[in-house]
Amino acid sequence: MIAASWPRGDPRTTRLLAVDPRRASLVDGTIGDLRALLRPHDLLVVNDAATLPASLCGLTESGLPVEIRLAGDRGDGSWRAVLLGAGDWRTRTENRPPPPALREGETLRFDGLRATVTEVDEAAPRLVSLAFDARGAALWRALYRAGRPVQYAHAAGPVALWQVQTAYAARPWAAEAPSAGFALTWDLLLDLRRRGVGIARVTGAAGLSTTGDEELDVRLPFAERYEVPEETVLAIGSARERGGRVVAVGPSVARALETAAARGGGRLAPGQGTTSLLLGPGFRCRVVDGILTGVHDPGTSHFRLLEAFADRALLERAHAFAEARGYRGHEFGDAILLLGRRRRPAVGRRRDGARVG
């Protein structure tokens, strides 16, 4: 599928392929069709993570150029990061020269910021942990000054940070934009609310989609930090009691909610955590009934995760259908909704009616 090469000026023009996995039906429309596709008591759960200026170009102690891509705040003052060699996003990630070999204790210099390598992954030397020399407001000021959003070679030009934020971006946790939400305007979200559709949030640290190293890519997605607020747990409980469906906007939302439910032994509990959950064929969701997300090619990890919601044959048909009708792929592209007309039978619902999922 042809990749969209630039952020969409008007999100309302986003095309939406509505796929009903039960009826194996495909409907070609636009994002505004959510007004008809979602019903009162359904709940749309968005990822409110803001996109980090996660790409920083700097120099090693010996003066070699290196790009770091922040892959997540480890919560102990250090960050996990992936290193890339000389060049920038204009070169396809897999064609970038390998990064210089770094050792623990080595210092990297960026514009107005320094970082010390605190850990080098044994299997993949381009995966490191870094500690910056600034903290608090000074660190954030420096990161926003020196960093840029992570982007890839299919983009037509350098993308500004404000172009990769959703309409509800809050804490900067995401290494790459939670782009499934790019299609959502407040006009649409408030209209859905007026129609009785709930809008709730989780914060999920959407991670890097590639590292430039095939062997390391196998380990993707990296563990993601998430937070499920109490009001979202309540909203999900309330939606399900009334027969509403829970729709995740993007994979990070599904991963966070399913992880939070699994941790609670099937009972969704609020809180923060880290998820390494891989959605995919055979995964049975406890919380999420459907997903609104971008259009990605078969063979990608994003495509595989959709198999938690629909079988592969239908997904391949949907992809071919979208491609034939000129849908665009990747983060600035069009959207797909995988959602059955009725809520699927709750996994874990006990005979006595007590909800465990």
Binding site: W140, R145, L161, W162, A169, P172, L190
Partner: protein, 241 residues
């Protein structure tokens, strides 16, 4: 809104009304993200608040610069979490001594609009989304009587503030019922560096102290009964209470 433990962002917080309001809200237990261009003065405000046991973070940035707005919003969210209150207090007078419109450079008008109108609009856009998701939030625009009266030589500033007033009214109308509220405040004439730049020969004894106006503003922030979209005068409000 009770600001205790709440994330609050104030622009133009390095001096005058912004600094006084920061002190006032810090005393009420707010967690402050303070924005101003002047880093040294801003750091001083932050240090003073911390010395009294308050929480404040300095985000040195220019509200009028397009690329800095998401940095402000992102840094604030990273530092104080959910930003429930934003006070658009930063203002630009334009060239001083103040000039007739016939003598005002178009670039000066553009700069005034960038800081007083477009910057707050961008920042509101960046912060209002999470407020709408949470169903709570308050956005305060600091305006001026120059927004309503046609004072000669206050053209650029007055026009920018008139536009701010109207943008705030429309924000309030569009988001009515969402739990996110908008207030516009005319602080009146205050004894500040900005006033001295605009009216160098003013009798300072006739001017309100920024601390007194900050207390009135804090009272408006606390009062959830004030209608969404209201425009209030600090002097009248203070006199009533």
């Amino acid at each position: 809104m009770d600001v205790r433990e709440r994330g609050v962002l104030i622009t133009g917080a390095s001096r005058g009304l912004g600094a006084a309001l920061a002190e006032e809200l810090a005393g009420q237990g707010a967690r402050l993200a303070l924005v101003a261009r002047g880093e040294a003065a801003l750091d001083q405000v932050v240090r003073a608040i911390r010395a009294r046991g308050g929480e404040a973070h300095a985000i040195a940035a220019d509200v009028g610069a397009k690329d800095e707005v998401y940095a402000i919003a992102g840094a604030a969210a990273a530092l104080v979490g959910e930003v429930d209150l934003v006070v658009h207090n930063a203002s630009e007078l334009g060239a001083v001594p103040l000039a007739l419109l016939a003598d005002t450079a178009c670039e000066d008008l553009e700069r005034v609009l960038a800081v007083n109108l477009i910057g707050p609009f961008r920042l509101t856009k960046a912060l209002v989304g999470p407020m709408l998701l949470r169903g709570r939030g308050l956005v305060v625009h600091v305006s001026s009587d120059a927004a309503t009266a046609a004072y000669p030589r206050w053209g650029a500033y007055g026009a920018s503030k008139a536009a701010v007033d109207h943008v705030a009214r429309i924000w309030a109308a569009e988001l009515a019922g969402t739990g996110v509220r908008f207030l516009t405040v005319d602080p009146g004439e205050m004894d500040t560096a900005m006033h001295a730049a605009a009216v160098p020969d003013a009798d300072r004894r006739s001017l309100a102290r920024p601390e007194a106006v900050a207390r009135a503003l804090a009272g408006m922030i606390r009062d959830d009964a004030i209608p969404n979209g209201a425009r209030l005068e600090a002097a009248a409000w203070g006199a009533r209470r």
